[in-house]
């Protein structure tokens, strides 16, 4: 399969994933690294003290998530 577009790569990856379950390990690493990075960023920004929720909600209001 000749891959040109982003969609081609998604198709190729899904086909390979069906053939080789070990690719799930790499996918897990990607997701884990995203979650850990995200967690660290917000911990740096909001701390983990008693005022976490207050600070978090102020952030959420600022980005219009609540």
């Amino acid at each position: 399969m000749k891959t040109k577009t982003r969609m081609d790569y998604i198709k190729l990856y899904a086909e390979k994933l069906k053939e080789d379950n070990s690719l799930f390990r790499q996918q897990k690493m990607l997701i884990e690294s995203q979650l850990q990075s995200s967690s660290q960023i917000f911990r740096s920004m909001l701390g983990d003290g008693d005022d976490f929720k207050q600070r978090a909600r102020a952030y959420l209001r600022k980005v219009r998530m609540i």
Partner: protein, 209 residues
Amino acid sequence: MGELSIRAYRCISDYERLLGKRRRHTSSQGYDGSGHFVKKFLDILKRHSDYLVVSGYVSICSGRARGTEDVDILFPVMSREKFEMLFKDLTNNGFWCYQGDDHAGVHRYVKDMDSVRFALKKEMFPNIELIPIDESRKAQHFEFSRPQKIRINDFEFKVPEIEFEIAYKETVLGSEKDMEDAMHLRVFFSSGIDEDKLKKYKSMLRRGL
């Protein structure tokens, strides 16, 4: 209730074997190694309500390599009394709610059919977007009434029929991310997809169900 294909099951089981045995988090907060975030939330939610896990998490569970910040879960709109029990169970067991600490205040969102979000204490992401539904939300109500199960080791949860998930992403949502998710699901579940059903769902969605 339908089930996903055997081949897909094998892949998903392999994934969950990895995901379910998450490393112990070194922080005093967040993941505690006793099971992952979604399982922990669903174990509580199941005590109070029916549910359906939808959208990105379905694709990610089947191997889609992309990030996400939230997990969308449909649940039938519930009374203030029932919601109070759910809210207390969640907040007493490691979750906090973006919208507030007062169950009555948060229930107003639910009553108005607005989503509410929960995350693990002292964490922002990932979060659960808990989406209330009733019969007025036709597409959600339709998929909710036709669940399919994914079993991942000891973690079993309900998702929409894959044909509906693909049809909804391609016909209703249609963003680049959704089209990519749909392509992944089409290829990954290719051996188990009922093409006639997929066409029927797409047609129904175009006509507003």
